[in-house]
Assembly symmetry: C2
Homo-oligomer: 383 residues x 2
């Protein structure tokens, strides 16, 4: 499979979508991405498993990293893609192959092998430091990675951070996860605890000999139902928390008083708390019940005060909002790199059978990023 980076944004998105890449099966797409980037010349292209990292080496003062995962959730009878009324339908269109296509188009534009999107038609710069493309104000790193949609242990970005920390050096990371063209800043943390309510088993015909663990879970559920979550504002972004049972299981057989009822509780917390503080809060909220941590991921502060982030916000011209879901921006935050979510896909359509993306948002995202990477002077030229 080859990817032709001179295709239009729509056609390139379509080509990327039509190479199926559910988590764990990204090789074909990763090969195509690696080959296309190498073919541009002038970029250092590295590979680790099915992650591909490309970097300029222009000696700029700042480096901006664009990141996107190549994998999708399992195909749900929604490939090949279909183009209907200005929208491209298919698995991964929004999450996040439209973003991947934008990243590839930007690489081609820098190399001078693709016309920039948008009505302006050109970056407005006559000379090029590289091969005929536009002159970027920052060095740029592209990170395409595998296994984002599955267990964190398999996450390709996590692996890159462990194996090749230096490949990820940057002053700002932009994740092209679906945000419908909004800037979503930082992300909330998440942790899950298992709460096991004990009982005593007995035959249900002699229920008074037992203690019903399911009945004894009533006050726990009542506690969760009446819990008042915090709302925290950081850098103008409003983070709304939540403490929720996401699973409950109990029962041995239809004629047995159950001796255990387990409730899995998910706490989504604002990034002003770290995991330890968040767990402490959960223990306090569920005082009296045995709480066992099953998994956790720290949040990320919005980081909008970093100069590179502030410049990006200005380039986009939209007020950043809080990211509620957990994303890999938190991995960059943990590496000390400010990171924002900004992408053309629609987060509400992610993982749905009906997943699609508006073609206009793909062009708009490319235009914004193009302008931002070209820097203030070029940006003015395009307005």
């Amino acid at each position: 499979m080859r990817l032709d980076l001179s295709l239009s944004a729509t056609e390139l998105t379509r080509a990327v979508v039509d190479i199926p890449s559910p988590s764990g099966a990204e090789s074909t797409l990763a090969d195509a991405v690696e080959e296309a980037l190498t073919g541009l010349g002038g970029l250092r292209v590295d590979r680790d498993g099915d992650a591909v990292v490309a970097r300029t080496g222009l000696g700029r003062q700042t480096r901006v990293l664009l990141a996107g995962h190549l994998d999708t959730v399992p195909v749900a009878d929604n490939l090949p893609s279909r183009l209907v009324d200005g929208h491209l339908y298919g698995c991964g269109t929004s999450d996040m192959k439209a973003g991947v296509a934008v990243m590839l188009r930007l690489a081609a534009a820098l190399a001078g092998s693709a016309a920039p999107a948008g009505p302006a038609g050109s970056a407005g710069v006559a000379s090029s430091a590289w091969s005929g493309g536009f002159v970027p104000a920052h060095d740029v790193t592209w990170v395409f990675y595998d296994n984002e949609e599955v267990d964190a242990v398999r996450n390709g970005l996590r692996r890159l951070a462990a194996n090749h920390r230096d490949w990820l050096d940057a002053d700002l990371a932009l994740l092209l996860e679906p945000t419908s063209g909004e800037i979503e800043a930082g992300c909330q943390g998440t942790l899950r605890v298992a709460v096991t309510v004990p009982g005593r088993r007995a035959h249900s015909a002699r229920s008074w000999l037992g203690e019903n663990a399911i009945h004894r879970a009533a006050p726990l559920l009542e506690r969760l139902a009446s819990y008042q979550p915090r709302t925290v504002t950081i850098d103008g972004c409003v983070y709304r928390e939540g403490l929720n049972a996401v699973r409950i299981t109990g029962g041995v057989a239809g004629n047995i008083i159950p001796d255990a009822c387990e409730v899995l509780v998910n706490y989504r917390f604002a990034p002003d708390r770290d995991v330890t503080q968040a767990l402490g809060h959960v223990r306090e909220a569920l005082d009296g019940f045995p709480v066992e941590l099953t998994d956790s991921a720290a949040g990320a502060l919005p980081g909008l005060t970093a100069p590179a982030a502030a410049a990006f916000v200005q380039a986009v011209g939209r007020t950043p909002v809080a990211k509620y879901g957990w994303t890999d921006v938190a991995r960059f935050a943990a590496l000390g790199i400010p990171a924002l979510n900004y992408g053309p896909g629609d987060p509400n359509l992610a993982h749905t059978r009906d997943e699609h993306v508006a073609l206009g948002l793909i062009d708009a995202a490319e235009d914004v990023l193009h302008r931002y990477l070209a820097g203030p002077a070029a940006g003015r030229g395009r307005r």
Copy 2:
């Protein structure tokens, strides 16, 4: 496999236990039982699948039916049987092959081919209407059946009632289910309802967009926890009811606010209520929640006022108690036949890996039944 009915009660129980017969695999044991009963002569022996029915035809005024299932729960590494300190260990010893052995011994005693158990050594009757055995005061029917330990649709007694109702004619049915030598009268009814609490799905990072079905189950569990069950006395037997959650399930994924929580509730009710009344009571107790009946089985009144039952109680000399679990006595009750549970096994050991039976209780049960079947005159002779 052959069963030698001249063996002692202990040895015969052991022989029956050592022919494995988990539900659905009773053929070998059923064949052996059929052959042994046919070999006695003088009995009409019929067969339907793996159920074997033997009947005397002495023209007595009353007929007593002895019933026992041949099947066991799955063998749990507890065969062959082991004899330890006056107890026989192994799968099915208590539930209910000790009872099956007693039934077979009584058939042999009537045919004169086995010495009665107990210190008296003989039924104390010199003449025999049959072939040298004791003279029964009642005609006797033996029902050995399959698939009692599994879904009701497979139950062999249910099949017999449908195919050969006349084989089951009797004035009193005695089930030799484990009761530790007590008379357990009638049985409670049982029904299960599924209660589904609805919610609205959302990502748990934006929980305010959803409605948590698990949280909304809190008042249902609270209702069950505070429910006050009835205690009902019938014919001197005390039936204690119970309304219990026996299973709870809810949850879609670790990051989703669940849109449904299902609670399975089991109502065990005294036999003064039929299923319709019992369901009405559950609907009332769980008013406000959608209740769907999943399965039910009527109870059975103790029926101790029937003359044949009263005579049996007198013969045993113990005060009957209520049966809490549901047993096949309810099938006989539904056919208009008073039925009692009375057997040598220990109900608390049924279905356990450590299942065993006290040898003394096997002899005692045989002695009681022998005396009862011989009638008042013979009974006096043995005291």
